[in-house]
């Protein structure tokens, strides 16, 4: 039940967002998230937007893992 799924915000209508998850649209309440904009990737959980996904942190983490596992090939 605790499954959280990443998706992309494609529409904002007052208290809800339309979130696209693999092309399928879901309505998600915005009551517990802040500063959500169209185009943001978010984590959706139990019909709510729980949090925005930070693209910068995501890239940094992947780069860091590549580096410390010596996989850095450019």
């Amino acid at each position: 039940m605790c499954l959280g799924v990443p998706g992309k915000v494609v529409e904002l209508t007052g208290e809800t967002a339309k979130v696209s998850i693999g092309g399928v649209m879901y309505d998600a309440a915005l009551a517990i998230a802040e500063d959500i904009e169209i185009g943001d990737y978010v984590l959706m959980h139990a019909g709510f937007v729980l949090e925005k996904i930070s693209a910068a942190e995501a890239d940094e983490t992947l780069d860091a893992i590549r580096e410390y596992t010596n996989l850095k090939v450019d």
Partner: protein, 359 residues
């Protein structure tokens, strides 16, 4: 899909596995406290990638599994009232109570509806003004704010027939209760989605008080392995601490909007955890100021005397002292199709995850 595929990258997985195997020299016990981690770890076959002396234990973080039998009985009693529509997340309807499940009372004609969100339950209340609509609030800090949001919306929109029966729980008291109880843990694989809301302050306290590593991580193989790698590095260096291996979503401060809303509507109470017993201040119930939405206060029912399910070892499984396969009923009398205990009902239950992926 974005933010999923990158974290299933074979080269990254291989690199992390090699690093863990090179680094880890001595026996270590790591516990995941989140049901989604239990499921992810079994699904992706993580244990087979690790050195044999790295032991992964499943803890009490599947909200369906830790919900005590008295709560299921309470929900069943509410559902039996002809003026009640009972709404719940799907996993709860097959959880055995003392003598019934929500599914079986639905078969007898009770109005039990599966919803995917607290807001959907609120909508049902709005559309059925002559009924009392009860939503089963279960889950940890990830889900409690969503229940609180529905209660707040009920107040703002004057929906007087919406009620919550809360079995919400807090993660930290369970994590400390296990160590206080003598379960030996060298590091906690901390729940990624709970931590989005809570931030890491509670892990700082646990890590400092119990000298145990706490690493927050996500649910894809690269996330889980990065978390395990950080815990093993800490353990090998003898320096347990708090780290985040899920920075794309988790910050030290957490989601303060969700956190504040949860505390505005709900307050701590003693809660009974299946297999562990009563833990003070570990549950979350509606505050006095939200009493009018509290099903426990507002809708009186007779609840049958609790009878534990015979032979089920869920308790030992949830405390991490026994693996599901140690239960004599596992895979024989107890299967996901015909579950005896709660740990076999939920996808995130340790017994169900073992049955599906490791069995």
């Amino acid at each position: 899909m974005k933010y999923i595929d990158e974290y299933r990258d074979r080269a990254l997985i291989k690199g992390l596995v090699a690093k863990i195997n090179a680094e880890s020299t001595k026996p270590v016990r790591l516990m995941e406290v989140c049901g989604s981690h239990t499921m992810a770890i079994q699904k992706f076959g993580i244990p087979a990638l690790l050195p044999e002396h790295v032991e992964l234990l499943s803890g009490p973080g599947c909200p369906v599994c830790v919900t005590d039998i008295g709560y299921v009985d309470h929900a069943v009693a509410l559902a039996r009232r002809s003026d009640v529509i009972l709404t719940t997340f799907g996993d709860m309807i097959r959880v055995p109570g003392s003598t019934s499940t929500l599914q079986s009372v639905r078969g007898e004609g009770a109005a039990v509806q599966v919803v995917y969100s607290s807001m959907e339950a609120l909508k049902i209340a709005e559309n059925n003004p002559d009924k009392k609509v009860v939503f089963l609030g279960i889950g940890f800090e990830t889900t409690s704010p969503t229940t609180a949001a529905a209660m707040q919306a009920a107040r703002n929109r004057n929906i007087g027939n919406f009620f919550v029966l809360s079995a919400h729980k807090l993660m930290k008291p369970a994590m400390t209760a296990l160590i206080d109880d003598g379960v030996k843990i060298d590091g906690y694989i901390c729940p990624g989605h709970v931590s989005i809301v809570t931030g890491t302050a509670m892990y700082e306290e646990i890590s400092a008080a119990y000298k145990v590593g706490c690493v927050v991580t996500g649910f894809e193989p690269v996330d889980v392995l990065q978390g395990i790698d950080l815990l093993i590095s800490q353990f090998e260096a003898g320096k347990p601490g708090v780290e985040i291996a899920y920075k794309r979503l988790v910050t030290p401060a957490g989601n303060t909007k969700a956190w504040d809303l949860m505390w505005e509507v709900l307050e701590p109470c003693t809660a009974n955890w299946r297999g562990i017993g009563d833990i003070p201040e570990s549950g979350m119930a509606p505050r006095e100021t939200y009493a009018e939405f509290d099903a426990a206060r507002m809708i009186p029912v007779e609840i049958e005397a609790p009878q534990e399910v015979k032979g089920c070892m869920c308790g030992a499984v949830l405390r991490g002292t026994h693996r599901p396969t140690a239960c004599p009923l596992f895979g024989t009398r107890c299967t996901p199709e015909d579950p005896v205990g709660a740990c076999m009902v939920s996808h995130e239950g340790a017994c169900a995850a073992f049955y599906r992926y490791a069995g």
